[in-house]
Symmetry: C2
Subunit: 192 residues, 2 copies
């Protein structure tokens, strides 16, 4: 974890003990996905971090050690999988900003990817957590694109999430039960 220079992460452990917000969004989503799998509800996984391997050593016959590698830009999103026969695809981001979410947090090719998924009848969205005020939203790609296409702004105000997004309420198990929102949307579609 990186901290701004001058700030030491001294008291963070203490904060975590008394505050669920200490659990990062990524960890909560991974934990939710494990829960969904263990209950045979959904099979959604985080993809491995893409890496370009430059040098590998073989100190013994069976063991390869990667000695030089670099992080590369992911071509798609972090999470995808299967729920009730639907292909699910999303990206998850945290922001410390209290009032808006900066669009540059998501690569343009990831937005393009989510658009492709949506066009081919997959379920595509982003999960955004405003950590400072502890609010987590699902915003479907159609609404995200609507914003991008009708605004010059480089960030999405939280009002837009309140209007077009779906808030994911804290729950016990999993702590971030994001498939509840997907259920709600699927029910709505069936009702039409």
């Amino acid at each position: 974890m990186k901290y701004p220079s001058g700030i030491k992460p001294k008291n963070i452990t203490k904060d975590i003990k008394y505050d669920n917000r200490g659990m990062t969004l990524e960890k909560e989503i991974n934990s939710a996905n494990e829960y969904y799998r263990s209950m045979d509800i959904a099979y959604i996984y985080k993809k491995p971090t893409p890496i370009k391997i430059v040098k590998t050593d073989y100190p013994s016959r069976d063991k390869a050690v990667i000695k030089e590698a670099y992080f590369t830009i992911p071509s798609t999103t972090d999470y995808n999988g299967l729920y009730k026969g639907y292909y699910i695809d999303f990206e998850a981001k945290e922001t410390k900003n209290k009032t808006s979410f900066t669009l540059s947090n998501i690569h343009s090719h990831q937005i393009k990817h989510l658009e492709n998924i949506d066009r081919h009848d997959g379920i595509a969205f982003i999960i955004v957590r405003f950590t400072t005020i502890n609010k987590t939203y699902i915003l479907f790609i159609k609404d995200l694109l609507d914003f991008i296409n009708s605004n010059e702004r480089k960030s999405i105000p939280i009002d837009f999430f309140d209007k077009k997004g779906y808030i994911i309420k804290d729950s016990l198990k999993p702590t971030i039960d994001y498939l509840k929102i997907i259920d709600k949307v699927l029910e709505g579609n069936n009702g039409n």
Copy 2:
């Protein structure tokens, strides 16, 4: 690429020049997936290789260099994605054996994963290429499980692929047009 001891990969380049079989199954599938994306047909990707990072250096502010990392066993399959609203999931393997495919080539948790996908209405299969005789098959997970559950054998004879699998014929663009088989199966399902 690893070679059995004593065998040098000396003449392989020459073979590739005159023989399409020189292109590995993985490369052909990646190339097919690129073709499908470029034609807006399907969005299927190979997942990055899962790696456990042990040590990272930061020689400059922006650049992280991974200095020690290890390959880890993948928890799922190599390929997944979206086609015509269906969630697609598969593993691809080559074998030099002419008469059978050794089951240990596929991790048991990958078979379990494909079974989960199938139960939740995804399309789950393996692609197996018998490189020596240049035959490539799709075998759906249901048929793979049928074999495993009704046989003591640790390898699947090629007869079983001929009977229960679907051969993927060589084509021009993409060279391995595996979605043709999926189309055939989907048509068959709709006809029932």
